[in-house]
Symmetry: C2
Subunit: 248 residues, 2 copies
Amino acid sequence: MIKVIGLGPGSSSHQTPEAKDALLWADVIVGYKTYIDLITPDLLQDKEILSTGMKREIDRCEAAINEALKGRKTVIVSSGDPGIYGMAGLVLELVHNRGLDNRLDVEIVPGIPALCAAAALLGAPLMHDFAVISLSDLLTPWELIKKRLLAALRADFVIVIYNPRSKKRVSQFHEVMELVIDKRGKDTPVGVVKNASRPGETVSATVAERVDETDIDMLTILVIGSSSTKITGNRMVTPRGYMEKYRS
Amino acid sequence: MIKVIGLGPGSSSHQTPEAKDALLWADVIVGYKTYIDLITPDLLQDKEILSTGMKREIDRCEAAINEALKGRKTVIVSSGDPGIYGMAGLVLELVHNRGLDNRLDVEIVPGIPALCAAAALLGAPLMHDFAVISLSDLLTPWELIKKRLLAALRADFVIVIYNPRSKKRVSQFHEVMELVIDKRGKDTPVGVVKNASRPGETVSATVAERVDETDIDMLTILVIGSSSTKITGNRMVTPRGYMEKYRS
């Protein structure tokens, strides 16, 4: 059996009992080293750790499946929630493609997603309908990403941006911020959260024209406000509408 | 001080240490009765519980603020994540409107959102960009909800639907399913999850034309697949694109 678990954004105070029980249950723990490092050492005692670098996702998942086929209790770790840009999908695809659907149980154990941790630090920007978009064009054509961004801007969704900018990929984020300013205005509230609940955490509630692009990296989460999102003090809030309805 | 905490979708195995610590810390716990009932009784010992029925959100939050102003440690509970259609926003709005931003600390403690619990039970439908839409038209004009739904359908987002259908509000959900079938086809994968990680949990991965509308209620979460979402066996998966890129 394989359990694909979410460790939450960073701090062990965000790790659920279900995720911890899965780690205790495991014979083998498979994951990218940075995620393994989020686990407190006592949970790793007497476990075999299979860890590879980034961009070896298929290798890691294949290794996990092979361990599970030997009868070993296998856990694959993701940060955040394994179901949001995490490892859950790839594991299920590989199991299915190898014809193992009926031979190998796969359980997905949810975790606190980075978007919830970022929203909590900013205040309450996700009180109303929102869209979640990754700017990574490694696996998705940039034209499709831009189409989704434009649709979300036009329909007045709050927008959560994952993977906004890497060392090599900088022009796309610049283009995104230009579109935000063009379609929603330079005063659009933007929340910027880096390293949520990890060392080096920074939180900023600002407006579109003041976002410092050079400060944005792959692990930054951005929240772009809708037309009703407000910044009050250092908080970003999208009203759900109670006040307008019941206090007007 | 007020902590607005998320209890996760239901089971205590999804409640984070941070949320439990907040409950232990509290003098007063404020919340809708159904959510208070998600807390194990030992965490409620010696606490004052302020519980009111649904649709009294402002009263509950005002009561919590008044308790905190007396110097009592106050916790407001939401199910799921308090930052996604939860209580976080209303608390921050009320605190701000009463001019208490500098007098009253408000901390938002994230929880596993219902959308992650539903996705985990379905497989991995949220591996790619997704939009989250509530169909409740109590606080949002139906025309805006429909505009967002159409934009998300056209831009090929996976779509998570909250509050799809109540006893009184049935025509809107019917209209949504007609739009899904019209824009994406009758074979569009649809995941239907009721009572995720609570008693009475049901999970179904089906297609748009087979969704039984009479079986959908306010607490059902629906996940409408994008053009790349597949149903394999009883699992719903939206590929992230690794296989297409590295195994073609």
